[in-house]
Symmetry: C2
């Protein structure tokens, strides 16, 4: 378990590579990210880079992991557990949007088209879930504080909403049934659907004031999951 000096410098080099790659990603986007270019930026031969990443896709996977982490951290940082649930919801949504607007290419890498021939999303799932975890915790806290309307007590349906998702979305509680959990999943995907449409230009011609539109949308989504509306 001792980290030899070789491992240390190796980890350091990996850090430099990912940092340079992240810069390139932010500048030119994932499609134009070139392994040789990051090698040039680091002053090393392109072949040397393969000692640390087996392929370009592995480098991108690393960037995806880091991106999910950064976005999740932004969401967590924006959540003040002492605030009322609806305010927390709006604040987290706004923080997510702000991050995506500051890192559009990272966002496209995370939530745009999968880059290669369907990269295995298995190991990225936990990192990708962090925003969902934050939103789910808000929902659960609201339920436990009695801020949620009574649920109809719909029967559980593990194929519709998996047990894992239930655990994330506040756990078991009388105020939470599959109907509100489904609406929570819908709100989650709608949040990113709205952001994608904005960043990818699908709202051109329909929405001018993106800031106010987004605020109104998150308000609707808060109402959809039972957190009331402003």
């Amino acid at each position: 378990m001792t980290t030899s000096v070789r491992e240390r410098v190796r980890a350091e080099v990996i850090g430099e590579i990912t940092a340079a790659a992240r810069r390139q990603l932010a500048e030119v986007g994932a499609a134009a990210l070139s392994l040789r270019a990051v090698a040039r930026e680091l002053g090393m031969a392109s072949s040397a880079l393969y000692r640390y990443f087996p392929s370009r896709d592995d480098l991108l996977t690393r960037l995806i992991l880091d991106g999910y982490d950064a976005l999740g951290a932004a969401a967590e940082a924006a959540d003040d557990p002492s605030a009322p649930p609806r305010e927390r919801w709006l604040a987290v949504c706004r923080a997510v949007r702000n991050w995506t607007r500051a890192h559009p290419h990272e966002y496209a890498l995370l939530y745009g088209s999968p880059v290669p021939g369907y990269t295995a999303p298995r190991d990225t799932v936990p990192a990708a879930a962090r925003v969902g975890v934050v939103l789910g915790r808000i929902l659960g806290d609201a339920a436990r504080s009695g801020a949620l309307p009574a649920a109809a007590g719909r029967a559980r349906d593990p194929e519709l909403v998996s047990d894992d998702a239930v655990a994330v979305l506040g756990g078991e509680h009388p105020a939470l049934d599959d109907a509100v959990r489904l609406r929570a999943l819908l709100a989650w995907s709608s949040l990113f659907g709205t952001i994608s449409f904005e960043l990818f230009g699908h709202f051109v011609g329909s929405v001018e004031d993106g800031d106010r539109y987004f605020d109104r949308v998150t308000d609707e989504l808060a109402a959809l999951v039972g957190l009331g509306r402003g």
Copy 2:
């Protein structure tokens, strides 16, 4: 205005090129679509292809246009104007999803990350709007047939929902104010947000039965815009 024989054969060649490109797109995706490969498939030199498309991006733009057209046609074909509004809404949503599942790479090209350094979406807007037009017409018909609840009569705000969007979303009607139009825009983007999450793998671990989940989601969205729920 006479189409000379030269123009005719030229248009024919362009058709063959786009057809071959579309096949390639369906197989390997937009990122791996190679100009030289389509030239090979057509048995011509790669340089000859540049007589018809100035660049690879122009070919992709053409495929994007065609994709929007095909998706829009599928949505229109699924809309039976004599059916009740809610049924029409559900049918169109389902048709959109079915098309995207049959053409995942085309969908990724349309609604995934913009491919080059932000292609100008100006000329693609009318083609991209077709699904929105279908959904908007359903909303307008519902309003005119009195199937929509009374609106609060919120003041118009052209920066929030543009005049063009108003024209698409059923036009002016007492049952339609900016609040329901905003919810219609939200439903529109949520439809594609849901599809994107499903196709791009973000629902892995949360939703097993995608078919039933999608039906429930479209039901929620129908309720959101005032078409009632099942």
